[in-house]
C-alpha cells in the first residue's frame, strides 16, 4: 500500500534581514496508514517547521509533501493539527470550542452537533460541555482539544509537543489517554516531542532529526514485547532501555559548561 504521508526532499530556508536560516534540508520519509510516528530532535532543529509544512500552513522552499498521493498546497483538510498548548478559547464553552473547526469550515449542522455531543459523552466531558476552559483540569483540556481536532474528521493527526505544557504525572496519564483515543478513532499520527521516553512509548517508528539544519538522522522501528501496547506498558517493555540509549546517543546531547 502507498504511504498516506510522503515527504520528498523537503527543505526550508527562512529569510530575514539578518540573513537566512536553513531550518530543514533534504527530509525524506513516509508514513503508513494507521501508523504512529514520533519525531525527536534537539530544540530548534525544525520539528515545528516540518509539521507546518506537512499541514500545508507553510510552503516549503524545496521538495514536496504528498497526502494520500495528492500534493500539498495550502491547508489540507486531511490534517488535524494539535499545537503546543491546548489553546481552548476562554470565551467559548467546551462545546463551542470543539465546534470551532466546523464553524470555520461552515459545516455546522444538527447532525454534526449531535456528533460533538457523542464525542464529549464518549470521552467523559459531557457534564462540562457548557463550562468554560478555565474550569477544566489540564488533562481534560487536552482531551477537549483533541476532540476539537477530531471533529473535522482528519485522516492524519499532527501533534506538536502537545503535552509539553503539562506536568509530568499528568503528561503520563494524558499520553495513555490520547494514545487510546487516536487508536480507537483509527487515525494516523505524527507526534513531535523532545522527550525521548515519550517518543518511544507512543510510536511504531521514531524519526531522529539532526540539529539545525534538521535532516533525518536515523529511523527506529520500535518493536516492543508487551501484551497490550499502551504508552505506559511500553515503558516497561524490556527493549525500551535499548531504544532509549540508542536515541540518546543519536541525539548527541551535550551540556555546555560555560
Amino acid at each position: 500500500m502507498k504511504d498516506v504521508v510522503e515527504v520528498h526532499n523537503v527543505g526550508m530556508k527562512y529569510q530575514s534581514l539578518d540573513g537566512e536560516i536553513t531550518a530543514l534540508t533534504d527530509i525524506n520519509f513516509g508514513v503508513r496508514d494507521g501508523e504512529f510516528i514520533s519525531i525527536v530532535g534537539p530544540s530548534g532543529c525544525g520539528k515545528s517547521t516540518l509539521l507546518s509544512i506537512i499541514s500545508g500552513l507553510l510552503p516549503s522552499t524545496s521538495g514536496s509533501v504528498f497526502l494520500g498521493g495528492e500534493k500539498v498546497s495550502g491547508v489540507s483538510r486531511k490534517i488535524g493539527y494539535m499545537l503546543q498548548k491546548d489553546y481552548l478559547f476562554e470565551w467559548r464553552t467546551i462545546l463551542q470550542n470543539v465546534m470551532l473547526g466546523l464553524e470555520i469550515r461552515k459545516a455546522v449542522t444538527p447532525e454534526v452537533k449531535e456528533r460533538a455531543v457523542e464525542f464529549l459523552k464518549t470521552y467523559g466531558l459531557y457534564e462540562f460541555r457548557n463550562k468554560y476552559p478555565g474550569q477544566l483540569s489540564g488533562g481534560m483540556r487536552q482531551r477537549a482539544a483533541l476532540i476539537r481536532t477530531l471533529m473535522t474528521d482528519p485522516e492524519i493527526l499532527l501533534l506538536d509537543e502537545a503535552f509539553a505544557a503539562l506536568d509530568y504525572q499528568t503528561r503520563l496519564a494524558v499520553n495513555d489517554d490520547i494514545y487510546a483515543i487516536i487508536k480507537q478513532e483509527n487515525k494516523t499520527a505524527i507526534v513531535v516531542t523532545h522527550d525521548i521516553a515519550e517518543s518511544i512509548s507512543m510510536a511504531d517508528r521514531v524519526i531522529v532529526l539532526s540539529k539545525r539544519p534538521g535532516t533525518v538522522k536515523k529511523i527506529y522501528d520500535i518493536a516492543l514485547t508487551c501484551t497490550e501496547r499502551t504508552p505506559m506498558s511500553s515503558r516497561e517493555a524490556p527493549e525500551f532501555r535499548h531504544f532509549f540509549l540508542g536515541i540518546w546517543k543519536e541525539l548527541d546531547v551535550h551540556v555546555e559548561l560555560a
Binding site: 500552513l57 490534517i79 493539527y81 489553546y87 478559547f89 476562554e90 470565551w91 469550515r105
Partner: protein, 270 residues
C-alpha cells in the same frame, strides 16, 4: 458557589467579616460626602467663606428646583448626556474599525504610523474652533470634538490589543482553514473584547472633556454652556450646580459601562 447549605462555621464567620468590612467602607464614604457638604453649608452660612463666590448646598438645591420649574433642567442634562454617549460610542466603534483596517493592511499601518503619532500628541482641543467653523456651532461640532479626543487613543489601544494576541491562537484557526476575515471574527474580536471595553471606559472620561469643551465653545445648550454662562454673569450657584450634576452624570455613565463589562466579560469565572 452553590454549596451554601454546607458552609462551615468558620467560613460563615469569614463571610460575615468580609460583609462587615464592605459596610464600613460604604459608611465611611457616605460620611465623607455628608461632612463635606455640611461643612460647605456651615462655612457659607457663617460667612466664613463668601457664598456669592463659593455658593452653598442649599443654594445649589434651590437652583436645581428653579431650573426644573423653568423646564430646562432635563433639557440641558439630556443634551450633554446625549452628546457624550454618541461621542464615546462613535469613538469606540470607529476606533475599533480603524484598528481593524490597520491590522488588515500592514502596509497602510506602516504608512500611517507617523501620522498617528503626531495626531496622538497634538492637543486636540486646539482644533475646536476649526470644527465649529467647518461644521457649524451645534451638537455635530461638539461630537466631532469628542471624537477628535478619543479616536486616536482608541485606535492605538485596540491595535496594540490585536498584536498582543498569542499568534498560536491564530495558527490554530488557520489549521482549520480560516482566512483573514475569520481570524478577525473568531479570534481577534472576541479576544480583544476586554481591550475594547477598556477603551470604552477611557472614552467615557475623554468624551466628557470633549463635550464640555465643545459646549464652552459653542455656548448654546448643555451643562458646559450653563457653566460658561454662569461664570460670565457671575452666577456661581449655576456653575456649582452644573458641576455637581456633571459629576453625578459622569459617575452614573461610568457605572453603566462597568455593568456592561460584567455582562459581556463574564467568562472563565470560577
Amino acid at each position: 458557589m452553590s454549596n451554601s447549605l454546607r458552609l462551615s462555621p468558620e467560613h460563615k464567620a469569614f463571610l460575615h467579616q468580609v460583609r462587615l468590612g464592605q459596610i464600613r467602607i460604604r459608611l465611611t464614604q457616605l460620611l465623607i460626602l455628608v461632612t463635606a457638604f455640611a461643612l460647605w453649608e456651615f462655612l457659607a452660612d457663617a460667612k466664613i467663606v463668601d457664598p456669592f463666590i463659593t455658593s452653598q448646598p442649599s443654594r445649589v438645591l434651590k437652583t436645581i428646583i428653579s431650573l426644573y420649574e423653568q423646564g430646562v433642567l432635563f433639557y440641558h442634562i439630556g443634551i450633554t448626556c446625549l452628546e457624550t454617549v454618541v461621542g464615546f460610542l462613535l469613538g469606540t466603534v470607529l476606533g475599533t474599525l480603524i484598528a481593524i483596517i490597520l491590522w488588515w493592511s500592514e502596509f497602510l499601518s506602516k504608512v500611517l504610523e507617523p501620522y498617528l503619532v503626531i495626531l496622538n500628541s497634538l492637543p486636540k482641543i486646539a482644533l475646536g474652533p476649526v470644527f465649529i467653523v467647518w461644521i457649524g456651532a451645534g451638537p455635530a461640532a461638539i461630537i466631532v470634538m469628542t471624537l477628535a479626543i478619543s479616536l486616536i487613543v482608541t485606535v492605538l489601544e485596540v491595535v496594540n490589543g490585536f498584536w498582543a494576541i498569542d499568534q498560536e491562537k491564530i495558527k490554530l484557526v488557520q489549521t482549520f482553514g480560516a482566512g483573514k476575515f475569520q481570524i478577525l471574527t473568531k479570534v481577534l474580536l472576541p479576544a480583544s473584547l476586554p481591550t475594547i471595553i477598556n477603551a470604552l471606559k477611557i472614552n467615557v472620561g475623554l468624551s466628557w472633556v470633549g463635550v464640555i469643551v465643545g459646549e464652552f465653545l459653542v455656548s448654546k445648550a448643555g451643562l458646559g454652556y450653563l457653566i460658561v454662562y454662569g461664570g460670565q454673569v457671575f452666577k456661581l450657584d449655576l456653575v456649582m450646580t452644573s458641576v455637581i450634576i456633571l459629576g453625578v452624570a459622569a459617575f452614573v455613565m461610568y457605572q453603566g459601562v462597568v455593568l456592561l463589562e460584567m455582562l459581556l466579560v463574564r467568562r472563565k469565572a470560577h
